[in-house]
């Protein structure tokens, strides 16, 4: 009895979208992989986006991309192109789509989908190596996506 109510409570929290928030399964991509509306219903905070982009347990964008604006974060990867100038190459809707699920923009890309909760093979419980239990959370929340979109939009210089 106790267990059931706990699980229920957990799944309620897990799936409860905040007012104005677009749930991962409801994201609308256009033909080019762009997402027009804010996922959180609010605008993003570029400073927080910069933090998320450089933090291993969050966006960890620097694992694959060099970003001069984050030069104080050690070790930038080379798997993807540098994000310098990405703010000039892509508009906010395109960046939002790239972050939510880059495979909608670049077919088969190595870049992970940060706002996706299903369709995975052997999904794990974060980095424990164990099977995921219950509903999966996206890697970044709706607001975190918006924050990173706002941050990348500031990267105007090549």
């Amino acid at each position: 009895m106790k267990l059931t109510s706990l699980t229920l409570a957990a799944s309620l929290i897990g799936s409860a979208a905040l007012a104005g928030e677009v749930a991962p399964k409801d994201v609308q991509f256009d033909d080019y992989g762009a997402v027009e509306v804010s996922l959180s219903g609010a605008s993003g905070d570029a400073a927080n986006g910069a933090l998320i982009a450089g933090t291993k347990s969050k966006g960890n964008c620097v694992a694959c991309h060099a970003i001069t604006a984050l030069a104080d974060v050690p070790f930038h990867g080379e798997v993807g192109p540098t994000l310098d100038g990405a703010g000039a190459r892509w508009n906010a809707a395109e960046l939002r789509g790239l972050l939510a699920n880059a495979k909608m923009t670049f077919d088969g890309t190595v870049m992970p989908a940060f706002y996706k909760v299903d369709g995975f093979t052997r999904p794990g419980d974060a980095y424990t190596g164990k099977a995921a239990e219950g509903e999966l959370m996206p890697i970044l929340t709706a607001q975190e996506i918006e924050d990173v979109v706002a941050f990348v939009a500031t990267l105007n210089e090549e």
């Binding site: 291993k56 960890n60 620097v62 694992a63 694959c64 060099a66 001069t68 030069a71 974060v73 050690p74 070790f75 930038h76 990867g77 080379e78 798997v79 190595v110 992970p112 989908a113 996706k116 995975f120 093979t121 052997r122 999904p123 794990g124 419980d125 974060a126 980095y127 424990t128 190596g129 164990k130 099977a131 995921a132 999966l136 890697i139």
Partner: protein, 286 residues
């Protein structure tokens, strides 16, 4: 243009400093062990890989100079301590049959030469592909009447190292046809499957991106010719399944179990991608 070379170097060094990348790996180095044993660390890709890459190379090439050096002399190689320990285990009687490995296999240097190079291997009697670790445990259980060793445990990895070092310098040459073929196909399928919430396959990192940095790690081809590997990170020998487990886990996936049929298939396939490279075990990595 008086000193073009100097300028280029400075520019590269500057770029490296700016991004904090570790650009110290010497990918052009050659591996000679104890001053006289030359290893094949780059060679033509085996035929089954020819449509995806021309050259295969050892993970040793991608490590930093200090790490590379540790593998060049057995006195510096921390993995060799475990080889000595396993030599004692080789001679130690254990189990209900009062036997040691040596009772049946005599001198390890003679009887185990070349064995590691062809594993994982089809075992006709058992009708299955066996890894070296599985074969060792089969002998312990069925020949000695002794307890099986933990698949990724220290006793097992040490014994794997002792047996593997007898093949050091010989080319990896696992069979992928005949009765092993279906297992090999299964392993290949796994190699290209994108797992976990990050949806990454072995190939995404080790085929499409070797030579690139991923955060602080310099990606290699993920070859297993050096296994078991002494890792500076955990100060012990690690066998291939332990490494596979970590790599699958890092895709935010549910891993497979070390010793499982899945990982046996993956090991056969990954080993075959290294056919032609020298057996390097015990190698040293970070």
């Amino acid at each position: 243009m008086t000193k073009p070379m100097g300028n280029t170097l400075t520019a590269i060094a500057l770029a490296a400093v700016a991004f904090g990348t570790v650009a110290t790996a010497d990918e052009s180095a050659d591996l000679v062990i104890n001053g006289d044993q030359e290893m094949t660390i780059r060679t033509a890709a085996p035929a089954h890989l020819s449509d995806v890459m021309d050259e295969i190379n050892s993970g040793w090439l991608y490590r930093k100079d200090e790490t590379q050096l540790l593998q060049m002399d057995d006195f510096d190689n921390p993995g060799m301590i475990f080889v000595d320990l396993a030599q004692d285990a080789w001679n130690a009687v254990d189990g209900s049959e009062d036997k040691s490995c040596a009772s049946c296999h005599d001198n390890v240097e003679e009887t185990m030469k070349g064995v590691r190079a062809v594993y994982p291997k089809w075992n006709e009697t058992a009708g299955e592909v066996r890894t070296l670790a599985h074969q060792i445990n089969d002998c312990r259980e069925n020949q000695m009447g002794a307890e099986k060793w933990k698949y990724t445990g220290g006793k097992m990895t040490a014994m794997e190292a002792l047996i593997s070092v007898q093949s050091r310098g010989m080319p990896v040459d696992v069979a992928i046809d005949g009765p092993a073929q279906s297992t090999w196909e299964q392993g290949k399928e796994m190699y290209y499957s994108r797992t976990g919430q990050l949806e990454l396959s072995c190939a995404n990192c080790h085929e499409e991106n070797y030579g690139n940095m991923i955060r602080a790690d310099h990606l290699s081809q993920g070859q297993i010719n050096g296994f078991p590997v002494y890792r500076l990170k955990n100060s012990k020998l690690n066998n291939a399944h332990a490494r596979f487990k970590g790599c699958v886990r890092d895709t935010r996936a549910e891993t497979y179990k070390p010793g499982s049929a899945d990982f046996v298939a993956l090991e056969l396939y990954v080993a075959s991608r290294g056919n032609g490279l020298s057996v390097e075990a015990p190698s040293v990595r970070n």
